[in-house]
């Protein structure tokens, strides 16, 4: 949160003209003080003004009392990655105020609670001390509520300083407190007090301003976990299990909420979904394996430590061919790591998870639309492929609010994959559970309970032949393993393919998931500042199709951008396509904060400097 940098988009203090719709706000508060609602109100008001926005909540692994930050970026060009630089800082936390101030670049505006002790002598900053405590005393008679309400005062101050339209703030408030008219009134009064104070007391407003535009169309503002839950709901999930763990809990919690309305039979009042809080991750995955086997569309959601605990069952699902979906909302590992920070840290571990030879389809959503879409499709894929499908999201996507196009409804029947019912079984000749009759490595299965008496078979994690009979035959084992390889390697046509941008540049950038947003901006930076045009491939699933290899081969060098220390996607690409490995260069970011464009463009720029062009 501190490292002072030269503001790139900001100007120096001497630079007078206003900068419109290009700013980053950072609010430093104390965890548990209710600042989240205030920050979202700011974010939403900007969004309603039609300005592209993004918000990042940098919260501690603690319930109340530790420092927390919220950054909002508003950018007319639609850049929504985190920006390192802060233009407008709001200081509400005595613990961090000095570090917060030290960390902003020259030219920034600093609003601070005037009761905080801090050195405000930096001449390159624009300090606005505000009497937050006095203001809140006026609007909020109940002492115990002041700690919460004070945050709305800075909302008002910021709104006035940068030009957020007050009616939009009011509208955002009305949304947040829809069910609580008293709270709405109180908070609105606090906002107004902030606005009023700023209007009356701050002569030189901020150089950083916002102004209404029309970039947001019919977009929503939603977090990735909710989007995944909606996707799973519309994708027909019937058994969902979980063990609470940040940052995945809110995915299942959103599903629980949705299911209450959308999966309760209006006539009988009975549920068309089972959502179970398991006693741990071993049980959570065991339940979805049992459910997938018995024909449910089953999913579980977890994060890194849960993946480690699930590894044994993951291998069983691969080898016994059980459909299920595993959402991994990645956080900073290894071990407990930084549990409330983001990372693309489980890419290698998931791709080949469990002992022995394995390989699992993985989807890498980069945005809300894909969070919804991949969640929905993952249930089809799992049943089609009869295997465990990983959806690798991360804390940044999962827990932050993002703009998104409205979700599209889809009328298709679900793909339940190759399932023989009683009728089909009666016709089937010499059916074998693990026979490759279609040449795609995918066998036909039956569901327990199918009448007729012909469909029963035995599922196991030990050696089995085409008819699911126990065997220790080495040949049968190898045949089966070869088929499994064909099945997984052959599924790329069913997976969301890579997205290419640009064509013909010698330098490529390859990224996936939430790294996308920084890469888009970094490409523009490289072009504008370095004259370096790059092609870009965004990988959206594993195993990769041949087009990924071919794309890499069309480039002299390819920067693989990712949010982990070890270049895990680079590793996986090299395993799958050894011939391209030497062309891959790693751009890695791993401090737990969402990736910013500068980290990408600077790394590529530095590497290119060292590369004879």
């Amino acid at each position: 949160m501190s490292e002072p940098t030269t503001a790139q988009e900001s100007a120096t203090a001497a630079h007078p003209e206003p900068i419109v719709n290009r700013l980053s706000i950072q609010v430093a508060t104390v965890n548990g003080s209710g600042s989240q609602t205030a920050n979202n109100t700011l974010l939403r008001a900007l969004f309603q003004m039609g300005i592209p926005v993004s918000g990042k909540n940098l919260f501690p692994s603690n319930i109340a009392g530790l420092p927390t930050w919220f950054t909002i970026r508003a950018n007319e060009q639609g850049y929504i990655a985190r920006r390192r630089e802060v233009d407008l800082l709001v200081c509400m936390n005595p613990q961090t105020v000095q570090d917060d101030i030290d960390g902003v670049p020259a030219g920034a505006t600093v609003i601070l609670d005037d009761s905080l002790k801090a050195d405000t002598s930096r001449a390159d900053l624009h300090f606005i001390p505000a009497p937050f405590q006095a203001l809140v005393r006026d609007v909020c008679p109940v002492t115990s509520l002041r700690r919460l309400v004070v945050n709305m005062i800075y909302v008002g101050v910021v709104a006035d300083l940068i030009g957020i339209e007050v009616p939009e703030v009011h509208a955002a408030l009305a949304k947040a407190f829809a069910a609580k008219p008293k709270a709405l009134e109180l908070n609105r009064a606090a906002v107004d007090a902030g606005v009023r104070w700023a209007r009356e007391n701050v002569k030189s407003k901020s150089r950083f301003r916002v102004a209404r535009m029309d970039a947001n169309g019919k977009k929503l503002l939603v977090d990735g976990n909710t989007a995944c839950a909606i996707g799973a709901l519309f994708g027909g999930v019937t058994v969902a299990t979980w063990y609470p763990i940040t940052p995945s809990s809110s995915l299942t919690e959103a599903l629980i909420d949705l299911a209450r309305t959308h999966r309760r039979d209006p006539e009988t009042g009975k549920m068309k979904i089972a959502i179970v809080q398991a006693e741990d991750e071993l049980a959570a995955i065991g339940m979805v394996v049992g459910a997938g086997w018995a024909g449910a569309r089953a999913m579980t959601a977890t994060s890194g430590p849960g993946i480690s605990l699930m590894s044994e069952f993951v291998g069983l699902a691969y080898y016994a061919e059980i459909p299920a979906v595993l959402f991994d909302i990645q956080r900073t590992g290894p071990s407990t790591g930084l549990p409330t920070r983001t990372m693309q840290g489980d890419v290698l571990f998931c791709a080949y998870n469990s002992h022995g030879d394995t390989k699992h389809p993985c989807l890498y959503p980069a945005n809300i639309e894909e969070a919804y879409d991949f969640a929905r499709r993952s249930l089809d894929l799992a049943e089609r492929l009869q295997t465990l499908v990983f959806v690798l999201s991360d804390l940044d996507l999962g827990m932050n609010l993002w703009m998104a196009e409205p979700f599209e409804w889809c009328a298709d029947e679900f793909d339940r994959g190759k399932v023989l019912d009683a009728e089909a079984l009666a016709k089937a000749k010499d059916w074998g559970r693990y026979k490759d009759v279609d040449g795609d490595g995918i066998p036909w299965r039956t569901l327990p309970g199918t009448p007729g008496g012909a469909g029963a078979y035995f599922t196991r994690g030990s050696g089995h032949d085409e008819y699911a009979r126990y065997t220790e035959s080495g040949e049968a084992y190898a045949r089966n393993m070869d088929r499994l390889k064909r099945k997984i390697d052959g599924c790329t046509g069913l997976l969301p393919g890579p997205v290419a941008e640009g064509d013909g540049a010698p330098v490529g950038i390859l990224a996936y998931g939430t790294s996308h947003h920084a890469v888009c901006e970094a490409r523009d930076q490289l072009r504008a500042e370095e004259g370096l045009t790059t092609d870009y491939l965004r990988v959206r699933s594993f195993p990769f199709g041949a087009e990924v290899k071919e794309w890499i081969l069309r480039h002299e060098r390819v920067y693989v951008v990712e949010q982990n220390r070890d270049g895990q996607m680079r590793a996986v690409l090299g395993i799958e396509f050894p011939e391209v490995a030497p062309r891959l260069r790693s751009v890695r970011h791993y401090d737990g904060l969402p990736l910013d464009a500068r980290s990408v463009s600077e790394a590529i720029q530095a590497a290119e400097k060292g590369t004879p062009r």
Binding site: L221, E279, G295, P448, G449
Partner: protein, 350 residues
Amino acid sequence: MSTEAPAAGGPKTNRVGLTVADYRGGPSTLCKGCGHDVITNTIISAFFEMGVEPHRVAKLSGIGCSSKTPAYFLNRAWGFNAVHGRMPSVATGAMLANRQLVAIGVSGDGDTASIGIGQFVHLLRRNVPLLYIVENNGVYGLTKGQFSATADEGSRLKNGTLNDLPAIDLCTMAIELGCGFVARSFSADRKQLLEILKAALAYQGTAMIDVLSPCVTFNNHEGSTKSYDWGRDHEGPIHELGFVPAWTTPPVEFKDGEAVEVPMPEGGSIFIQRVEQGRHDPRDKAAALRLLQEHYQSADSFLTGIFYLDPASQSFVDRLELTDDPLCGLGAGELRPSREALEAIVESLR
């Protein structure tokens, strides 16, 4: 008593028209004389006599000699030999997916009480509809005879190794955790085991049966407290039982006023006919716990019978208020909310 009259000349059939052969499985690959094989055969009899349709049955297990046995009964049912100690979670998931299945789980003492005790505990708390059998031999048979967590303190392996840790009493634990059907039996007492199994099949929640099932290869020697001899010398049935399914009438001997009748919610009754160690009505939880506490691990008694039965317990699928139709059978029509519903959700996020 519980089956239809045999068709003239043909083999005896049950109420769904199947013969005992229809309930058999593949040939056992266990050691000759293994207690587990006796249980396998008794399971076959119980399902036959109860007239359960094999295709409705899910057979679940973990890993171990005991966990192999689902391959040796009910060939026409679906089997799932999962990972070691984690069958309960798989069974839970399967029953959520399809509540119409009849689930039987077979586990070993290592699979349940050592690696699996965590999932066992939570299975019982949830009361998942499942007939759960522990084939208890006090050792890990498949890995060649190391002690498990049900081995009695002071017992010895063949090579002389002493077990100095206390045994976990699965029955006491099950009762404490709210399990509503808790029994113990002995694979050498097929008659009793059969009646318990049939009663368990008529139960709506988790029915836990801990069966002493000697490992003839690794734990059947002198000094073992899980051997056939030890079992025969020490077994003390706490009552004599007969299960009478709903579609038959109790034989006369159950009607002489001596027998206690415990009706089962899904039909049928358990008759407790003769009482040896005082009359134990399994509906009396406190008495059950007392019995177990007084007798478990005491050198001269190994009580068998149904310790505890709560005919009214609510199973997990009921607690979750699942629809009557199995979830696995629902299609997009039933599951996918309407276009309007999506639009409403979207609107709420604007």
